[in-house]
């Protein structure tokens, strides 16, 4: 389908941009990051210093173009360098350990939030002026609350005052990671508060958008036709109303993932959750530039992939998409 092809082309450009930005940042930034690193670690082995130099181009060998090609080669081989703060662990290894945590938590929470929010938005629009509709502004105001502030409040309430749920880390200390019940149950209870934070702050946005589009959709003629046909209110609401109103919401979903993920990363830091956000934070505070960049690259690609999936969902959901331009 032309639509998908165009979107794919767009994502190729976007990935190229992400990799290139990643390549350029250390090279155009003022100051000398490698000196900062060297200053922090007096006793780095010459190999590490050399590898850092190659990676960041501070003592460039060859033209910037050949460095760029070399960089692409490294990226394609998942060779993201060596972490300086957890020397000599490879950046790709660290990401491999932390990424699943983030994917599971942020992925599930975001999809839940989107699904529930959208559904509530449909109901709020349908029962205009009902309690849900009237509660919407209050819910939406949560989006003006910083993720981390809400996280702090939740921790205070549920973990410290009520002691219902644990917080900090992804699972209780002393458990063996793996496919065993104590570990899984611990991981789940540890993820409840972080997930709640994500859902609470983003659900109002999805709901409001769905409600607004739904209100516009309700005044379309085909809704009136559906009523004139004597269809059940449920079918009018879902198959005729929501089925159309959700299309802009899916498109919006693809575009706003970047924002959602950004918020989730900060949330991880508050909870010391062992995902990429927390790791990124640690990398920044310890000047671990290779790790920082590796994480940014992986996050970019994860977000872009999710957006692509949302776009494909859109193309599947809207029969008109195939004749429409991609932008």
């Amino acid at each position: 389908m032309a639509f998908i092809a165009r979107r794919l082309a767009f994502y190729v450009v976007a990935v190229w941009a992400a990799v290139t930005i990643n390549f350029l940042i250390p090279r155009i930034m003022p100051g000398n990051a490698i000196d900062a690193v060297l200053g922090r670690f007096q006793n780095l082995t010459p190999q590490v210093v050399k590898s850092l130099e190659v990676q960041f181009g501070f003592h460039p060998k060859g033209t910037i173009f050949s460095q760029y090609l070399q960089y692409w080669g490294d990226v394609l081989h998942f060779n993201l360098g060596v972490s300086t703060s957890q020397y000599p662990t490879h950046v790709s290894t660290i990401i491999g350990q932390t990424l699943p945590w983030t994917l599971a938590l942020v992925g599930v929470a975001t999809i839940l939030s989107f699904a529930i929010g959208t559904l509530l938005g449909v109901v709020a629009a349908w029962r205009r002026g009902g309690w849900l509709d009237r509660a919407l502004p209050a819910l939406t105001l949560l989006q003006a609350t910083p993720y981390f502030f809400l996280a702090l409040l939740l921790i205070y309430l549920f973990a410290i005052q009520l002691k219902w749920l644990p917080f900090g880390q992804g699972y209780a200390l002393g458990l063996t990671t793996g496919f065993n019940w104590p570990f899984i149950s611990s991981a789940i209870t540890h993820s409840i508060l972080p997930a709640l934070t994500i859902i609470a702050t983003s659900i109002g946005g999805w709901m409001l958008q769905m409600r607004n589009v739904m209100l516009t959709t309700i005044s379309e003629d085909y809704i009136l036709v559906a009523q004139a046909k004597g269809l059940s209110a449920r079918r009018v609401m879902l198959t005729y109303g929501a089925r159309n109103a959700i299309l802009p919401n899916i498109a919006g979903f693809a575009l706003s993932l970047g924002f959602v993920v950004a918020g989730a990363l900060v949330m991880e830091i508050v909870f010391s959750y062992p995902g990429v956000g927390f790791t990124l934070y640690n990398a920044v505070t310890s000047n671990d530039y290779p790790l920082m960049q590796g994480i940014f690259l992986v996050i970019s690609i994860a977000v872009l992939s999710a957006s692509l999936l949302a776009d494909i969902a859109y193309a599947v959901a809207d029969p008109r998409a195939r004749t429409r331009s991609a932008f």
């Binding site: 036709v225 269809l231 079918r235 198959t239």
Partner: protein, 678 residues
């Protein structure tokens, strides 16, 4: 077209009904005496209001209407007269702030005869009761089938869900029924798998009709079912509706702003004005001239294709505000026959003397054949009959030679030729009409001649010199000679700027050539030229404070500010109400005489071209298929497409006439093209 349904399926109810319903064996009116049953849908004293913070709009006031099986009642009136509100209100599909305030709606369907011996009270029904009535008993064909079909569902699913909501049929049976229905309206069953956006406008409207007939309703309400379609497609669809009605025997409420259309297809015509019925009459009576002055005004607003080229009267003014009570006759301020007593009447309908019992009017003062009073005739237009036909000796201003325009190519693949070598000449003081269906390329010609689009081939000559108006350098000089009037007066003025701003800018831009300053005096002069007075009232008005006709006048004044020699008018009246159209056309005609303007009048309506133009060019698929002096071309068309166009145009006198064989073939081809185009 397949006909009877399989026996044993639930929709064969129509067979039983057939015996009781009048056989389609003669003209509708003759049946009246033989039928014992009363109306199938009976609306009495219906009142509907729209609540609003600025006062409630009483959109429908005390309306009676009855529909009989096998008969078409046509409901006519200008936009805002309440005709759609009445129809949707009768099945309670209106949403708040609309409320029904008075009256009764009773449905006397055969299928409900046992449970409801006195008829089904629609206004007292609850959700479930209405759900059962809708579609199964009373179906609606919506105006714009583009918006009326769910864009994300296949056609088949949209037909089926209506069937399954009312009949206990299997999926297989429902699918079979959908196939049968779609063939019935002349579409091949493979289109069932299409989505609405993959169908042309005409096909979507057919789908809508098939859907409405899917569970064999006894009443079908059609709300402007052919508005926005080309006349040829319109004709085809109307023929189908008539055939289906004859065969299935349902009653039709046909709503349209186009009275001439009703004269062709309706058995009974009901004319509404300001929420009230002003006249109801058998169609034959309206054909010879209505009784109510408003009906007569409407009839006088349509240019005709047959018969002598008559002067048209139109209706000056605009409809009243429907908030609050109206005193006496609401038409009184626009009526040529108005007298003081008009403010005292109660608008009840009474029989017209000398006419049959079915002919009622709300005006007790005017007899059907009473001539227009002197005063009204004095303001009758001087124009209407164009300059003498032999006037081609006048000076040639603008010529398009072998104009070509292709779209697409490059990345998008196939090249579409919108204009394939069109030549035309605009002479001083003469009106050339470019007539064609949508997609014929006529608007592309306007865009080429105005410089909005670049030519693919050919040339444009102003005073014999070749010029490319789409280039930056030539644009301004060209604009001072060639100006344009747009189709939609609601879109062609910036809502944030006053009339003064619009005119001032136009004057300022062309000041160096015209020698006129953008002063208040000049603005007033322009407003005077387009007859917008008193000028104080309009100078500082914002567009949303003006009516459609007034906006179009401002639009024309803006074009005149450049003192052009050529005016390109792209469908200048098609978005206006019927009664206003004539005023605007007359204004343009008057300006033509006054300033010796060369005018290109682009329209889909060949009847108005006959009324307004000296020469007519008929355009079809990017080519001029026929050209000639207006009167001669309309009376003696030679090209089959022109013949088809004329035969399809609504005109009370031509409907019975057969479409010539060759033209019919062309129509079929056209339909297939339409399918292929989407």
């Amino acid at each position: 077209m397949s006909t009877a349904s399989e026996p044993g399926t639930p929709w064969t109810a129509s067979a039983d009904r057939g015996s009781a319903a009048p056989r389609p064996d003669g003209p509708g009116r003759d049946r009246e005496g033989t039928r014992s049953a009363g109306p199938v849908l009976d609306i009495q004293g219906l009142g509907i209001s729209y609540r609003s913070d600025l006062g409630d709009v009483r959109a429908v006031r005390n309306v009676d209407l009855a529909l009989h099986p096998g008969r078409i009642v046509g409901l006519a009136g200008e936009s805002g007269c309440g005709k759609s509100t009445l129809a949707y209100g009768a099945v309670r599909l209106l949403r708040p702030p609309a409320i029904i305030t008075a009256g009764s709606v009773t449905y006397h369907g055969r299928r409900l005869a046992d449970g409801h011996p006195n008829g089904f009270d629609v206004l007292a029904a609850d959700d479930e009761g209405l759900k059962a009535i809708r579609w199964r008993e009373i179906a609606i064909v919506f105006q714009s089938a583009m918006n009326a079909l769910n864009p994300v569902l296949r056609i088949e699913d949209q037909i089926i869900d209506g069937i399954r909501a009312h009949l206990p049929v299997s999926d297989e049976q429902a699918r079979a029924r959908a196939r049968e229905l779609i063939e019935m309206v002349g579409i091949t069953p493979d289109r069932l798998q299409a989505y609405p956006h993959e169908l042309s406008g005409g096909m979507r409207q057919r789908v809508m009709i098939a859907m409405a007939l899917s569970v064999d309703p006894e009443v079908v309400i059609m709300d402007e079912p052919t508005t926005g379609l080309d006349v040829i497609v319109q004709k085809e669809i109307l023929k189908e509706v008539l055939e289906l009605k004859e065969r299935l025997g349902f009653a039709v409420l046909f709503i349209t702003h186009d009275l001439s259309l009703l004269l062709e297809i309706a058995d009974q015509v009901v004319v509404m004005y300001a929420g009230q019925v002003v006249e109801t009459a058998p169609t034959a009576d309206v054909r010879i001239g209505g009784a109510h002055p408003y009906t007569r005004g409407l009839l006088g607003s349509f240019p005709r294709l047959r018969g002598p080229r008559v002067q048209l009267t139109g209706i000056p003014g605009s409809p009243p505000d429907l908030r609050g009570a109206l005193r006496g006759c609401p038409f009184h301020p626009r009526c040529a026959f108005a007298q003081d007593a008009c403010l005292q009447i109660d608008m009840s309908l009474s029989e017209v003397p000398g006419m049959g019992p079915g002919h009622l009017t709300a005006c007790p003062f005017v007899a059907p054949n009473e001539p227009l009073p002197e005063a009204a005739r004095a303001i009758d237009r001087a124009t209407g009959v164009p300059a003498a036909d032999g006037a081609d000796a006048t000076e040639l201003v603008l010529a398009g030679i072998d104009l070509r325009k292709d779209y697409g190519g490059g990345r998008r693949g196939a090249v579409v030729s919108a204009v394939k070598g069109v030549s035309l000449e605009l002479h001083r003081g003469r009106v050339v009409a470019l007539v064609g269906a949508s997609g014929s390329g006529k608007s592309t010609i306007a865009k080429l001649l105005s410089g909005q689009e670049k030519l693919t081939g050919g040339s444009i000559r102003l005073d014999g010199r070749e010029i490319d108006p789409s280039t930056r350098g030539a644009f301004r000089t060209y604009k001072s000679e060639v100006q344009m009037v747009f189709q939609d007066p609601f879109a062609s003025l910036n809502p944030l700027h006053t009339v003064r701003y619009h005119l001032q800018r136009a004057l300022a831009i062309h000041a160096s050539r015209t020698g006129r300053t953008p002063s208040a005096a000049e603005i007033d002069r322009l407003l005077g030229q387009v007859k917008l007075g008193p000028v104080e009232k309009f100078r500082d008005a914002y567009p949303h404070e003006l009516s459609g006709g007034q906006r179009q006048r401002v639009s024309i004044a803006r074009a005149l500010a450049a003192e052009p020699r050529v005016l390109l008018a792209d469908e200048p009246v098609s978005m206006l109400d019927v009664s206003i159209r004539l005023e605007i056309l007359d204004l343009i005609a008057e300006l033509r005489t006054k300033f010796q303007l060369a005018i290109l009048y682009i329209t889909h309506d060949i009847a108005s071209a006959r009324y307004f133009a000296d020469e007519i060019l008929v355009m079809h698929h990017g080519e001029i298929v026929e050209r000639g002096p207006a009167e001669q071309l309309v009376q003696h068309p030679t090209h089959p497409y022109t013949q088809l166009l004329i035969a399809s145009s609504p005109d009370p006198d031509t409907f019975a006439s057969e479409i010539p064989e060759q033209a019919a073939v062309l129509a079929r081809e056209g339909l297939e093209k339409e399918v292929a185009a989407d």
